[in-house]
Amino acid sequence: MNCRLTRWAPILLTVAFYAGPLPAADALSKDLTSTIALLGLPCGQVVSSRRLGENDYLATCKNKMRYRVFVDAKGRVVAQRQ
């Protein structure tokens, strides 16, 4: 049992490493893309994002534009062009 676990562990870890974060990042990019589009701002598609804080992201779009997307004190989602 132990032997089997040690044999599979590296494989599972590798799969988790490569497969795990991808969907989450993809979902976030999709979320930010939809948000920026809903706010009527030009972007196309978010290609990368960086977390700046709680509910605060810096999104880079396919058209090279960058937006800081965050929730303001009133609970409104704001996309600020950087």
Binding site: A27, L28, K30, D31, L32, S34, T35, L38, L39, N55, V69, V71, G75, R76, V77
Partner: protein
């Protein structure tokens, strides 16, 4: 109390768009089915190909499908769906709130908008929601499509709007 507007009625005539609320039915335009070339001397009206029943005035009052609207359930499903991300949901909520504020301003006489003016942003918002849901949660998208007119009938009725 305002009635639920009847479903948009398609009219063959390439005429200016009819407002959905005023689904006006024109009498079936007597198609001048005059094949210019082969008109026999005898003006016997050739029988129409399939004896179409004449369009009745009552088409406008066609039974409006009245889906049982459960706003709370729709709201719950929207909140819980995984087809839309958190930021997107929050943005949509902001836009719904903005639209509701416009209705409120309209009913309180603070804005010079008409209901017809508010129909367009309502439709646009519904379309945005549908676009976001149609791939990830098609059943919810369908439920919203089915409830579209019922929701509008609430918004367009000041008494029912107050209960929201």
């Amino acid at each position: 109390m305002q009635e639920t507007p009847p479903p948009a009625v398609k009219i063959d005539v390439p005429a200016p768009k009819v407002e959905p609320s005023a689904a006006k039915i024109e009498s079936p335009a007597p198609k001048t089915d005059g094949p210019a070339t082969k008109v026999p001397a005898k003006a016997a009206a050739p029988p129409p190909p399939a004896e179409k029943p004449p369009m009745k005035e009552s088409v406008a009052a066609a039974p409006v499908k009245s889906p049982t609207l459960d706003l709370a359930l729709l709201e719950k499903r929207l909140k819980e769906t995984s087809a839309i991300g958190v930021f997107t949901k929050l943005t949509l909520k902001n836009q719904v709130d903005d639209l509701l504020n416009r209705f409120r301003a309209h009913y309180e006489g603070r804005a010079k908008t008409t209901l017809a003016d508010l129909r367009q942003p309502y439709d646009l918002l519904i379309l945005k929601v549908l676009a976001l849901l149609q791939d990830g949660d098609p059943s919810l998208a369908r439920a919203i499509t089915d409830s579209r007119e019922a929701i509008w009938s609430i918004l367009a009725d000041p008494a029912r709007f107050k209960t929201l």
